[in-house]
Symmetry: C2
Subunit: 314 residues, 2 copies
């Protein structure tokens, strides 16, 4: 397949995911054109995913497509932004022609389910890697940040944590089909694999947190590490009670709070905020304090966090 046939096949695989709210011009020109609702801010993020680093060598393209768009859109959720569109750059070898069309199928399906249009991209020779730039909007001045947590706020987390990280250690070479993973529920054998390949960005929760949360972040590096980013940005600390943290079934609690890839939201808010957010499955797990750092206790005793993998990339 030459470049132009491949691009045609990719655009066909994306299907109607190339159009959507605000899209004036999708793929095929020098750039895309879109409109933003009036009086809104543009919220933008970029993430790179490399074969063998951020997804397993040999992973099916459609699975990777779901994963990279879900993980990228999670940054919009953490900002309380409504999704708009994404641009996707792929570097690939000549042998990856069919794989990238399969990737596009996964991207397209994920894009439709999240309400994101894929408006542009780039294909280039290189080691297999995908970079996703996602864009959303929020009414002017209300996007959530990491920096607003204040002592006295409570700490909340959505859903449950640890499953994706636990699955990462032993991902099957041939994962179940997307349709099977999409049906996996808390407690199912393939729940962790589903959490890994089909991250569900908490976009509706993010929007509901506008004007409620004082700070927010998504769990990509791990609950403790990501809460640490919020604390540093806010000039505060946090105390977490491990017994209160919603842990995925079969996962060690201390590992779960160090594991990344869950893409749940961790946020701070005044006490009682969870009552306004009951429909989102939010759990209060601790409190914001003046002293810097994140302290985790179990049965009232402090857990040593220095031994676990609380820093990546180092």
């Amino acid at each position: 397949m030459d470049e132009f046939s491949l691009i045609d096949a990719i655009v066909a695989a994306l299907g109607d995911a190339t159009s959507g709210r605000g899209v004036v011009l999708g793929p095929g020109d020098d750039a895309s054109i879109a409109t933003l609702p009036p009086d809104c801010d543009l919220v933008s993020s970029i993430d790179a995913f490399v074969e063998g680093v951020h997804f397993p060598r040999g992973a099916p393209g459609a699975h990777v497509g779901h994963r990279v768009l879900g993980a990228s859109a999670s940054d919009l959720a953490a900002m309380g932004a409504d999704p708009l569109h994404a641009l996707v750059a792929v570097t690939l070898g000549a042998e990856h022609g069919h794989w990238v069309v399969d990737l596009a199928r996964g991207l397209g399906a994920a894009a439709r389910s999240f309400g994101i249009a894929i408006v542009g991209g780039n294909l280039a020779r290189g080691p297999l890697a995908i970079t996703v730039s996602v864009h959303g909007y929020a009414p002017r001045g209300v996007a959530l940040r990491r920096s607003g947590a204040r002592a006295g706020d409570r700490v909340f987390v959505s859903g449950d944590v640890g499953a994706a990280g636990a699955a990462l250690a032993s991902l099957p070479h041939d994962p179940p089909p997307i349709a099977t993973l999409a049906r996996a529920r808390f407690g199912d054998a393939c729940y962790g694999v589903a959490r890994y390949y089909l991250p569900q960005p908490r976009l509706a929760l993010g929007v509901a947190l506008r004007g409620v949360a004082t700070a927010a972040i998504d769990v990509s590096d791990g609950l403790v590490a990501d809460l640490g980013h919020v604390c540093r940005a806010s000039g505060v600390g946090a105390r977490i009670e491990l017994e209160r943290v919603p842990i995925a079934p079969g996962v060690d609690a201390e590992r779960a709070i160090a594991a990344g890839d869950d893409y749940e939201l961790v946020f701070t808010a005044p006490p009682g905020a969870d009552e306004r957010l009951a429909s989102f499955g939010v759990t209060e797990i601790g409190a914001v304090v003046d002293e810097p750092g994140v302290v985790v206790t179990r049965a009232g005793r402090r857990i040593d966090l220095t031994s676990a993998g609380y820093q990546h990339f180092g």
Copy 2:
């Protein structure tokens, strides 16, 4: 250097390039926040640059930073968009810590000169590669596209072509410093190297083309190949007189029109448009016709284009 020290060093190297027109929140959160001028469209593009494919192994970081931002911003010029901001994802090995800080210096300097803010990014382990997502704006409905060329329009090109492509074949391992390259003029020994490492996106020309050009594209694949994209998108063809094409000194004319990396603008417009654009150094090189395809003539005789490298990536 751990990830967080490296990010601090990168943000320091970017300096005041992280802020600018419309930037509400720059690097350091889950996403950036920006505002768009009222009644404007958002124009967005993404491009990937891989070591050994899109820039030479061992090329200095600062040079690569200038090149990747200039090449990326050129897509905004081709759309007639004013620049706003960029997000930059870098995949790199542990040995590239200092290199990526040097890259950030180049990105920062280029960003300031183009009026683009660097508002966010991503660092990840992987083969050395840089992906740039650029964003700009244009008054609603006036952004340029590839699809508006009509028979009877004339074809124009800015500046001169061929120098960057010719330099690419023999780039020096230790290129002259940025400051030296920035002073290189048409005819200087290092003119080609300067065109390669310091592409100058024709942003002001792009803005001037709004309401004037019927279609536009930037020369990244080569003059003939890129004009071919315009013709296909517009459902027309083009006839180019090679004698009229402004060729860089010392470059074979047939090679020059097949060479990429110049980042000049090729556009179509009604006859006489060049008179309104005199200050931009624009040359009329041919005409748009009904018959599909791009035909190039020299002394009235048609040149065979099939032998040259008019398709990349195949």
